[in-house]
């Protein structure tokens, strides 16, 4: 059993921490999210220089062939800094989908993704998905000129920044059928693709994509014929399972980072703010709230580790359950920490100008991606039954 970062992980954590402190302080971030793009290409370039975008990419495509565990401290730092760069979308989700799929699209797109020059976003959820295990209404058809897809994907995180999308679509069957689906790569400039850009409630750039007979390239295991894949769904399931695991592990790390930031702000505030002639941190009610926050934060921290370990070892006995447990625990406890942190601040915690509320907004968004805590409880109940 080992809970410590290795030397490389420690170094990366330190350098990413310094980078974000220098370029993504809360004031700098406010300017970034107020800009037209809502993110900073320069900041993403610097993260790429440190190797963040290359971490999960195989060495053959110019990456480090790393694991989620290696990204854990980086994603915590991004969460704490409320960073709006497409790290989750591209460096985690896009990279994982392409890596598991392999083949020509992976060879073509992963080198640029690793360098940070290409952003590949994950376009899987649909307006009707909510927290369903699987819901794909988007259709794919094979015509004389190749595949085309039609349908709506929402929300697509970092959609405005992406040059390519990994899109799930259905060749046969009902929206919740596990067979009859495949993943496709669609270029952002493809014909018949409409993009409506917006911001999530935590300022993250996102898009709604509407496909109308849009040309698409099938993404599948090179060992299997893309055409035969929909019939057994094996390649589709393999990609989906890996991306779900990576997404859950990444969001758990991100939420722990955001909750940790809220916790730090609250503790600092308890030690400076005076009312009724004394520090508010002398009040037992607030001291106990701080202790509750620490307990929640430590539970969340443990399960973020468990999620990363599970995502890296999907074959291990506890992995499937640990991912669900982790998303449930981190979702609940990180939210709890942020809510307590706002309460510790009083009125100032309620303002847009102050960071602590943004931590709750970040956690709220992360909790809703890849299934919220209630959905994880439902899935875990089914798995344990």
């Amino acid at each position: 059993m080992n809970f410590q970062l290795n030397d490389e992980q420690q170094q990366l954590q330190d350098s990413v921490g310094r980078l974000l402190a220098d370029h993504c302080s809360f004031e700098q971030r406010r300017a970034i999210v107020a800009s037209a793009d809502g993110r900073s290409a320069a900041l993403y370039g610097r993260l790429a220089e440190l190797g963040v975008t290359a971490l999960l990419v195989p060495e053959a495509q110019g990456g480090f062939g790393g694991r989620l565990e290696d990204l854990l401290p980086v994603l915590q730092a991004c969460g704490a800094a409320l960073c709006t760069e497409p790290v989750l979308a591209s460096a985690v989700l896009g990279a994982t989908a392409l890596r598991v799929a392999g083949g020509e699209p992976a060879a073509r797109l992963l080198p640029g993704l690793a360098q940070g020059t290409t952003v590949v976003a994950w376009a899987h959820d649909e307006p009707g998905t909510r927290h369903a295990d699987l819901w794909i209404e988007t259709r794919a058809e094979k015509g004389p000129g190749g595949w085309t897809i039609s349908g709506v994907k929402l929300p697509v995180i970092s959609g405005p920044q992406a040059q390519h999308f990994v899109v799930s679509a259905r060749i046969a069957g009902a929206a919740d059928a596990t067979q009859g689906c495949a993943f496709f790569v669609v270029d952002a400039g493809a014909a018949g693709l409409q993009r409506r850009d917006f911001r999530l409630v935590d300022d993250t750039p996102a898009s709604e994509l509407t496909f109308n007979a849009t040309p698409a390239q099938a993404l599948a295991d090179p060992l299997s014929d893309p055409l035969s894949d929909p019939h057994d769904g094996a390649a589709f399931q393999r990609i989906l399972t890996a991306v779900n695991a990576a997404g859950i592990a990444a969001l758990c790390a991100d939420m722990v980072g955001a909750a940790q930031a809220a916790y730090r702000l609250a503790l600092d505030y308890l030690n400076v703010r005076k009312q009724f002639g004394r520090l508010i941190g002398e009040n037992q009610a607030l001291r106990h709230r701080a202790a509750d926050m620490l307990v929640s934060l430590e539970m969340a921290r443990s399960m973020a580790i468990a999620a990363a370990v599970a995502a890296d070892r999907p074959e291990a006995e506890d992995s499937a359950a640990d991912l669900l447990r982790a998303k449930l625990i981190v979702g609940r406890h990180a939210r709890q920490v942020c809510q307590h942190a706002i309460q510790c601040h009083g009125g100032i915690g309620m303002t847009e100008e102050y960071a602590v509320g943004h931590c709750l907004r970040r956690v709220h968004v992360a909790d809703h991606l890849f299934g919220d805590a209630d959905a994880q409880a439902r899935r875990l109940a089914a798995l344990l039954a």
Binding site: H288, A300, A385
Partner: protein
Amino acid sequence: MNLDFSAEQRAFRDEVRAFIRERLPAEIRERLRLGHPPRKQDTVAWQRILHERGWAAPHWPRRYGGADLGLAERLILLDEIYRAPAPLPQAFNTGMLGPVLLKYGTEAQKDHFLPRLARLDLWFCQGFSEPGSGSDLASLRTRAERDGDDYIVNGQKIWTTTAHLADWVFALVRTSTEARKQEGISFLLIDLKTPGITIRPIVSIDGEHHLNEVFFDNVRVSVANRVGDENRGWDCAKYLLVNERSGIANVGLCRERLDYARELASRITEGGRPLAADPKLKAEFAELDAEVRALEVTNWRFLLDPQAQQAQPAFASVLKLKGVELQQALAALLARIDGPAGLERRGIHGVPERHGPLSPRYFYSRAASIYGGTSEVQKDIVAKTIVG
């Protein structure tokens, strides 16, 4: 990072499991599974079986009846005992007094008491709390006055768990009122058969007798039975309270009770349907499963990773707070699952039948956030390390 035990540790787990499977009397296991607490004879019988391997006091040196086990092995052993379920080694003997004697006891005290504590030839109880002292332990007033080679002890202890079953008590007594309240306390071992001692039962909200008042009226205790120096008993008490933390989170207990809750829910029907099919209950099981796992990983992280301990000096309080919360949630859940059929009043040591005493156990579970430092005191301890 990884969350796996090593091959040696897994082999040890298999060894413990096989030992328990072979040696734990079925009747004891069944009683505990149904929710009965272990009776004295159950604890004694099982502790003597564990003692054959040194597992009654696994963290002690072998020469005193321990097994010199490392922390990871102790966690594994404890987990397996809980999950069996089997009675835990008597905690006052092995978890509290034993370590204090190992650190502060004289050679004669160690040679005499430690083997008897490990084998449970002597049953010790703890005489710390007093009327009015509560969580402010150091305000205790029971006094011991020197008379030649003896102390004369006068005063009263309260909440003394198992005093009515015990042979001896280890007690904190005031030997000086001159300095700070912590500096006038001594740590005495007192034979409960000594003239002048009266034990009165306190019946708790489960309708049972676990707790007692113990009165000392001119009780004569040899100075040879003082542990540590005179007026330095607070050192022993502090050491006792922080020394043995491997069991503080009670992870294995939570896991075993959750398993039993699932089992019980699958056997009980409501309107002709198994209770286990209720979606709300299923979600609750899942949520508790996730919480117990988070506690388990946190327990490993805090106990096995020195860096995590350094980063959070109040880690033991964190573990107790969360462990107690889950323990109480599970006790309440079990009583709810048992439902109206569990309302019939029965003694907790009754004959095992389908319904164990789950409602009384729920009532008594409320004590977990009061003893060993209330949850409010634990939060004060945590807050001191983070708020200042």
